[in-house]
């Protein structure tokens, strides 16, 4: 082969390799940051986004102050899903799951608590979708389908409920009725676009700014979205990097204050709401269809709050949840009336439904030790053996 031709071919190979390698690098960077950039752009205030980015970088030191409620919390979950990435164990459900903690699981098990206060089942599914999109299907979903929710009056929206329907509070889900994102090979035009590349660069610049300020914790002024020391008491609710919540005055899982009374007189119109049961079934079916293992559980109510009427209602609701689980072939563990059995003492109740970390540990212990028989082996693989010790 003539020298000149060999040189030309070498140049062609370098040329093509350089073009393809650079475009592949840009595509990879854009693909990696696209969902995160979109979520960070779509959800929440700048303060919240920056606070969560800083929290993700200081998981052992920091906590984020925030007023509870679905508006703030849904934005928090939406952003957090992008920051936590792959999750092995996902907790979903109402606020009484808030003390389910990373500390219950083995080292290396990626845990995230995606509870939402005072929420619809549709919002729980929104968290599930966010987690799946960001990091894939979790191995296990612990779903707090508390019996009290099933006897709550009112409508429960489905995903086909129009976003402008007044039933939604805190807004319809982020991707309500939206088409699923196209697979990567159909989205090359967008992923290899100048605009997406600019967004990636912007995201990187934002992250660099967050990194520069991450080392310093904020002063706890009682305002929301402050990144404060998790090992110092606060007067406000705080969220940890694993998604769990710390109550005002609580330190390292030990409660010191009490919340207000939440369960009104159990006499009256409260009865099983078939629409809520149907929605629970619909959303759990969709989750199970992704291949994840779902365990339904209902946490204990403070035994001091139980009246004969409420006990009967909870028993009926627990039976309905069990029937849902049976139809779907998943485990169901109703602990509503079994607080003492799992070791929850009076001081473990922040109020009638919200539990300390120790009491939640008892729930997990109960699940491992036979209350979720189909999932027992998976739970043993994931749960820290120390949790099984009383």
């Amino acid at each position: 082969m003539p020298v000149q031709t060999a040189s030309q071919i070498r140049k062609l190979v370098v040329f093509v390799t350089l073009v393809v390698a650079l475009l592949a690098a840009i595509w990879h960077a854009n693909r990696t940051t696209r969902d995160q950039a979109a979520a960070l752009t779509a959800a929440g205030s700048t303060q919240l986004r920056e606070a969560l980015q800083r929290l993700a970088r200081l998981p052992d030191r920091a906590s984020v102050t925030m007023n509870p409620g679905p508006i703030n919390e849904r934005q928090l979950r939406h952003v957090n899903a992008q920051l936590v990435g792959k999750v092995d164990v996902l907790v979903l459900g109402q606020s009484d799951a808030d003390h389910m903690s990373q500390t219950f699981f083995r080292k290396g098990v990626r845990f995230y608590n995606g509870f939402l206060s005072n929420s619809f089942f549709a919002y729980h599914f929104e968290v599930f979708e966010d987690i799946v999109r960001a990091g894939g299907v979790p191995r296990l979903v612990l779903y707090d389908a508390r019996c009290l929710t099933l006897v709550k009056e009112g409508d429960e929206p489905g995903y086909d409920t129009p976003p402008e329907d007044p039933i939604w509070w805190a807004g319809a889900p982020f991707r309500h009725k939206a088409q699923p994102p196209p697979p990567w090979y159909r989205d090359l035009d967008s992923l290899l676009s100048l605009q997406q590349t600019e967004l990636t660069l912007q995201t990187w610049q934002d992250e660099r700014q967050v990194r520069e300020t991450v080392a310093d914790l904020d002063k706890d002024t009682g305002a929301s979205f402050r990144v404060v020391d998790r090992h110092v008491r606060s007067k406000v609710h705080r969220w940890l990097a694993d998604g769990s919540r710390v109550y005002p005055g609580e330190l390292d899982g030990v409660l010191s204050t009490r919340g207000s009374v939440r369960i009104e007189d159990s006499q009256g119109a409260r009865k099983l709401n078939p629409q809520r049961v149907a929605m629970l079934e619909a959303f759990v079916r969709r989750m199970a269809a992704t291949g994840t293992t779902v365990v339904l559980y209902s946490p204990p109510i403070d035994p001091r709050a139980l009246t004969p009427g409420l006990t009967a209602q909870m028993t009926g609701a627990g039976r309905a949840a069990a029937q849902v689980a049976q139809r779907l072939g998943v485990d169901s563990c109703d602990l509503t009336l079994r607080a003492r059995e799992i070791g929850c003492q009076d001081e473990d109740f922040y109020d009638q439904t919200h539990l300390s970390r120790a009491c939640n540990r008892g729930i997990v212990r109960k699940l491992v030790s036979g209350c979720a028989p189909k999932t027992q082996q998976l739970l043993r693989d994931l749960v820290d053996p120390d949790v099984l010790k009383r």
């Binding site: 030309q8 071919i9 040329f15 090359l188």
Partner: protein, 455 residues
């Protein structure tokens, strides 16, 4: 799937090139290329690909019949078959809607009904001319007819030149296809670089110019003279970089396949007179019109008056070839008049200083682009009024000035893409071109169709 799309650059082209090189036998390779080209065409034109099958078959048969027939009258009749078929096809698809609209406008009521769903098949103006040129060459005995349908079909359908040319002469391409041997690696390198350069010209210059100039040219009544003239300069540069970028890509693709196409542009804005311009602008069309229309009309052999008329007719039809619209008729007629006048003043013109000739020619060309770009008489009128009677401070974005300067600078360079040895670029140029290609690819989702795809 235009050349400036990710699907073409990263899927269609690599797959076709790899498979093309795998075939050992020429006939197999050509048959594969026909399949690939028809796929390429069907993605752009759908079922209209069948028209190309018919057109190819007719001209192939005409070539064989002309070869077999010796009687002049019969030969003329056979040639007429090709002309009537090709021009009929072109006229129907290109001018049918225009005729219906014009008749209805003149009548004042819908006298004629348009046939629903008749659209202009992509590239029909190019492949009918190419195919028709073959029949004429065989009729004139300038060319031996192709005996191989596969060679002829690949000549007509070859995807690099299918949609917007260059209109490659059968005398140039058929022998290359017949002798298609192993691909020359040096030519492949040259082709890849030329394709890359064409992509950059289209995406990074032409499309950027259009991005900033189109809002002004789409609403000429809303802008003043400075903006309008600046935008028209931008369009003059845009159409050059758009079409010559496309041509470079087509020629680069041909080289990747081991073929060589004719040039189509040769620094047209260096022209110092209208005749010079048409030797530099869309050369494959202008030379086709010269050889198959102007010369048969009599060329310059029948006196000055007839020569002028022939020039005018040729340019008028050249304008009409671009599309059925009054603006193209005006544009073609304008160039016909320019050539006519130039032939009258050729001697005194040549005594003018070169700079003056060049400056006047540039201005005349700029004026000629106005009807080409303004698609309606209303816009043309608005441009004429506002560009002359509405002086004002410029409001165009600074980027437009920047891209106009860039385009003007590039088009003024003494060498163009025909002069560069693309296979022997230095390392710095090769690396710079690679980076420009990456930037161009990032702009592809902003890239528009090639202007000449509409013709």
């Amino acid at each position: 799937m235009p050349f400036n799309s990710l699907q073409f650059i990263f899927l269609f082209l690599p797959v076709v090139l790899v498979l093309w090189r795998l075939f050992r036998r020429r006939q197999h390779a050509l048959a594969f290329m026909i399949g690939a080209s028809y796929l390429f065409y069907a993605l752009a034109a759908g079922w209209y690909a069948l028209l190309m099958v018919v057109s190819t078959s007719v001209d192939f048969a005409v070539g064989l019949l002309l070869d077999a027939e010796q009687r002049p009258g019969r030969r003329k009749l056979i040639l007429c078959l090709s002309l009537v078929f090709n021009l009929g096809l072109l006229s129907f698809f290109k001018y049918y809607g225009f005729v219906v609209d014009s008749v209805n406008t003149l009548a004042g009521y819908p006298l004629l009904q348009a046939v629903a769903g008749v659209a202009l098949p992509a590239g029909i103006s190019f492949y009918t001319f190419q195919s028709m040129g073959y029949s004429i060459d065989v009729y004139r005995r300038d060319l031996k007819p192709s005996k191989s349908f596969i060679e002829f079909a690949s000549f007509v359908s070859l995807f690099p030149q299918l949609i917007a040319g260059p209109i490659v002469r059968p005398k140039l391409l058929l022998p290359q296809l017949a002798a298609q041997g192993p691909v020359d690696n040096a030519r492949v390198t040259s082709g890849a670089m030329l394709f890359a350069a064409g992509l950059c010209k289209k995406v990074l210059v032409a499309d950027r110019l259009a991005w900033y100039a189109d809002p002004i040219l789409n609403a000429p009544g809303a802008y003043g003279s400075v903006d309008l003239w600046l935008a028209m300069v931008a369009f003059a540069l845009q159409i050059y970089f758009d079409f010559s970028g496309y041509t470079d890509m087509a020629r680069g693709l041909a080289r990747l396949l081991g073929l060589e196409f004719s040039i189509n542009f040769d620094s047209p804005y260096h022209a110092r007179n209208p005749s010079d311009f048409w030797k530099r602008w869309h050369v494959s069309l202008s030379s086709w019109l010269r050889d198959y229309l102007y010369i048969p009309l009599g060329g310059n052999r029948k006196g000055r008056g007839r020569t002028g008329l022939n020039l005018f007719i040729t340019m008028f039809l050249g304008g009409l070839w671009h599309g059925a619209g009054v603006n193209f008729i005006v544009w073609g007629s304008f160039h016909g008049l320019l050539l006519l006048v130039y032939h009258r003043i050729e001697k005194p013109w040549s005594t003018l200083p070169r700079g003056v000739q060049h400056a006047v020619m540039l201005f005349v060309l700029l004026v000629s682009w106005i009807p080409f770009r303004m698609h309606t008489m209303h816009d043309l009128g608005a441009f004429a009024v506002h560009a002359t009677l509405a002086p004002h401070l410029p409001t165009a974005p600074p980027q437009l000035w920047g891209y106009v300067l860039l385009g003007a600078g590039l088009s003024a360079l003494p060498r163009n893409s025909n002069d560069i040895r693309w296979g022997a670029l230095g390392w710095p140029t090769t690396l710079a071109l690679a980076l420009l290609v990456v930037v161009a690819v990032l702009h592809l989702n902003l890239s528009s169709k090639f202007i000449y795809f509409a013709f």
